[in-house]
Symmetry: C2
Subunit: 336 residues, 2 copies
């Protein structure tokens, strides 16, 4: 029998905690008997939620944590002071080897800081990138780094490319993923000091399938499977995508509701539209991993519902079974 995958889940993190988080955890254990979830947070609240569901009690354990780190708190201070918070306690479960992975929809800053400070980096990994899966019209791409550490060095971007390739191939299942450097033009000499220095490093790296610079315009068309960039740029791309998608869809909905005629039409197009736009959602891919740590740390959207929590937990199984960290140690660090 395969080894169980132990996942610590921050039951108090996110806009819909603990209700949706607990529900997602139950759905995950009911979906796969190889996973055991440790729900970390206020025991009485979590247990109250759990009473609503049926599940195999062997696969679900509650770990009490009194405190909660709020989204607005300065992360470094919060991680240091709130030792009894759900995020910190979940991080320690990974650090101490009781869990293989951690899933949190809570404060991004606290997850990033805690991941680095408590769980810790794999020796040789310069910087652990936050790597969300983003939708494109043909599927998905991995965009990294979208974390909080800006002003990266070329050698760090090279590691991002390698770690991203391992993840895309082994977890998302895209063979020989195309790696693109996010840039403001396709020619090699285009860009800023960072991209110009990074380009030859990527080009001369035999372990990745580098296809050159990718302009931001090509990202929604699936211009590359692994999109490499510095965190400021990644963050701007990610948030521009999120903002304009929701603004545009809002505008279209308003347009459809603006006249009697269009309202009638809306009823007719809705099912087909819903089906098409489903492809533009990433919830089935779970959250964004923070790659290169001694364990897996997954950050899901603050607005995550049960389905995203469930899929983020299940994604940890592939991460462990595919021995991602082993591969990162072998392919990213040693070859550096």
């Amino acid at each position: 029998m395969a080894e169980m995958v132990h996942v610590a889940v921050d039951a108090m993190g996110g806009d819909n905690a603990p209700g949706e988080v607990v529900k997602g955890a139950v759905e995950a254990v009911n979906a796969d008997n190889k996973v055991k979830v440790f729900l970390v947070g206020r025991e009485n609240v979590i247990k109250e939620e759990l009473q609503k569901y049926t599940y195999n009690a062997q696969q679900l354990e509650v770990v009490h944590a009194e405190e909660v780190i709020e989204t607005g708190e300065p992360p470094v201070m919060a991680i240091r002071k709130k030792k009894d918070s759900s995020i910190v306690k979940a991080m320690y479960l990974v650090k101490e080897g009781k869990c293989d992975a951690l899933v949190s929809a809570g404060s991004t800053g606290a997850v990033l800081v805690g991941g680095q400070v408590i769980v810790g980096r794999i020796k040789g990994v310069e910087r652990p990138p936050l790597a969300p899966v983003i939708p494109n019209i043909n599927g998905v791409s991995l965009l990294l780094d979208c974390g909080a550490n800006v002003d990266a060095r070329p050698s760090q971007l090279l590691q991002f490319a390698k770690m991203g390739s391992v993840y895309m191939e082994s977890v998302i299942g895209i063979r020989n993923p195309r790696v693109g450097l996010v840039n403001i033009g396709v020619e090699e000499e285009k860009g800023n000091a960072l991209t110009k220095e990074t380009y030859p490093l990527l080009q001369n790296c035999p372990e990745i399938n580098f296809i050159g610079n990718v302009e931001a315009r090509e990202i929604p068309y699936g211009g590359a499977d692994v999109l490499v960039c510095e965190a400021f740029v990644g963050n701007v791309v990610l948030k521009t995508l999120e903002g304009i998608s929701s603004a545009l869809i809002g505008k279209i909905k308003a347009g459809m509701m603006s006249t009697a005629r269009s309202k009638m039409g809306a009823l007719l197009v809705k099912p087909a539209l819903k089906q098409t736009l489903k492809g533009f959602s990433t919830e089935e891919y779970g959250g964004a991993p923070l790659l290169g740590l001694n364990g897996l740390v997954v950050k899901t959207h603050g607005s995550s519902k049960a389905i995203e929590i469930r899929n983020s937990i299940l994604q940890c199984i592939a991460f462990k079974e595919q021995k991602i960290n082993q591969k990162i140690k072998e392919q990213v660090v040693l070859e550096n």
Copy 2:
């Protein structure tokens, strides 16, 4: 009577040149008798196009230029070598004072280089930003810099903020425009070295209405009227917006055409949708000015149709009448 505004138009630039460019020029002179257009390019081709239209011959002149700078050419070399190209000749018309402004849908690189090298910067302006107007759900914002010069200094971003404010107020007509610094978080201490150093400069500048950091997610919601950033970031925001908008709209159209039922619905929603999405187009605002030059240089989309050319030409009238360059000299340079 008001002074005429002389606009040099690169008749050979863009995907739809010379047909749509000539048509747009004719529409501009027919729309406003204060403007005179100098169509620069191959005389015989332009004259052939002009025969299709009726217009006041006093307002339209053809200036022959034998060569054309193609989009793919390295811009610095092209500007240096192709002295008899439409872009270079149009630039000289501005430099020599025969024209107040120039409009081109041609090579962005050549327009940026030519603007700086031939037309030249206003004394004291450190770097001329390319400042496109971008749509948001409530109106438009100015995003600058989107040019080709990356790795800007904080003092340059301060100038962008001032020039952008002058332009938004005097040409687009937004009073006391809100200036936002594009960043990865709203708190003052967020961001990279550049944004952290720029923040206090903007905050302590009494001539602008600085509202703080703006996350990319807020851009499509009109989070600020003037969005200040370094060119790499501006370019990434602009192209992400363009890419995802066209990808999403393509996806929605495909969804509407996917079933018999949805096709029927599409017919009903189309007029209302068209009306709503019109607000998401910027063609009525003309092209992107390159601010801070001795004259106005406007870059319009390579795919510009007559309407965008027309509006780009008409936008030069407001630029001259509002004495933008005078204001830049007084408010941006002297106060530096």
